[in-house]
Point group: C2
Chain length 213, copies 2
DNA sequence: CTGGATCCTGCCCGATACTG
DNA sequence: CAGTATCGGGCAGGATCCAG
């Protein structure tokens, strides 16, 4: 621990000593969506070596950021209250990195949890406040997400269900969120495929979820 | 670059690919205070090996986060507009890490730039708004900082100058900012030494700069 | 099958010496 | 002053193996 110490009495260095290691903040990102089992975390971080995942989980536990909790006979990892306070950090990183994402490459995948956090990052409560409550069913790559917007609150859950608008999209949905692609153009070009409901609702979606590029 | 790629199409992973390496965000932290020469950066990051500093500067440049700029015959490094947008990330990390700082250890140092960013993190504009404009001269370890608070704006510069209250303190000032130590107790116990001006002004300072622990 | 632990290989970091 | 060169060590990466 002393070896990777930055030697400064400063909040930023302290934070980086705790969550600055490779993969650490991505584990936190996924746990911000909800408690996860070891295997679920591994599935959401396809390239992480199992020993690294195990090591990070142990370090994050020692730092009081996550804890192991028994859930009906199986162990899940969940954030402690202090770990949950990392949400502004993850959201700020996500918003900043969004602008540098560029076009998706072939080997880049989308995971349900990363998409969930991306939607939280792009959510504009002050805009949603003036729009009717809406439920979107979004099939994003392998992830089926149910996105409930009600006034200034957002709730994203996995799985299918009744929705005002159901649509499917790939990584190119990035261009819709950034405003580079207008909603009607997104449908016309096939970037977004409307599965159920009026396609015009995609406009509401795009104004609710937006990040400048 | 592909080796340290996370393989996900996600804003958080993209951000960590760009600034997730060791030392990278600390370089950004110092450059958020102002442009710095190579030697100034090295002085503010005492433990960084010179080859690592050189490598990070090159990577951050390639990523469009910093640029080399000639300033009257010498080269300085400065943030690009995109690099400056990392300020929310650094502030969020600083605020989160502040709570985990604990007591200062012997080998931990304080640098002027890290203290400047810490003050920016702890600054409460909505509180300062209702207080008279005040200039503090703060000698924090080796750093002489001139802290100007005027309404909701904060300006921190290096060096000495006329101040309403001048004081000296060590790392234990952390306990004043967190509220663990009341201003009058801080003076009584010698944590803060008043150099000039009315010690009562330290109360204003403590309410202007505060981070919960 | 889940949740790890244990190898080995290689690369990045750290420390220091050296140069334009 | 602003970096480059070099070398040792320690994490990361990947595959495999083990326990409940």
């Amino acid at each position: 621990m002393a070896a990777r110490d930055y030697g400064q009495y400063c909040g930023v260095t302290r934070a980086l000593e705790l969550v600055g290691e490779r993969w650490a903040l991505l584990i936190v990102r996924d746990l911000l969506v909800g408690p996860r089992r070891y295997g679920e975390l591994a599935a959401g971080l396809p390239r992480i070596p199992s020993n690294i995942l195990a090591a990070r989980l142990k370090e994050l536990q020692d730092a009081g950021i996550i804890r192991r909790a028994p859930r009906s006979r199986v162990i899940v990892y969940e954030l402690t209250p202090y770990g949950r306070e990392l949400e502004p950090v993850v959201l700020a990183l996500g918003a900043w990195g969004f602008k540098a994402m560029g076009d998706p490459r072939e080997e880049q995948i989308i995971t349900p949890d990363s998409m969930t956090m991306a939607l939280r990052t792009a959510f504009r409560p002050h805009v949603a406040l003036h729009l009717p409550a809406t439920v979107y069913g979004a099939r994003l790559g392998p992830a089926d997400l149910l996105v409930r917007v009600d006034g200034p609150t957002l709730d994203v859950t996995r799985g299918d269900g009744p929705a005002d608008l159901a649509f499917a999209a790939g990584p190119d949905i990035h261009r819709l969120i950034s405003g580079e692609l207008a909603p009607d153009r997104a449908i016309a070009t096939g970037v977004v495929e409307v599965l159920r409901g009026p396609g015009a609702l995609l406009e509401r979606f795009a104004s609710t979820f937006h990040l400048a590029a």
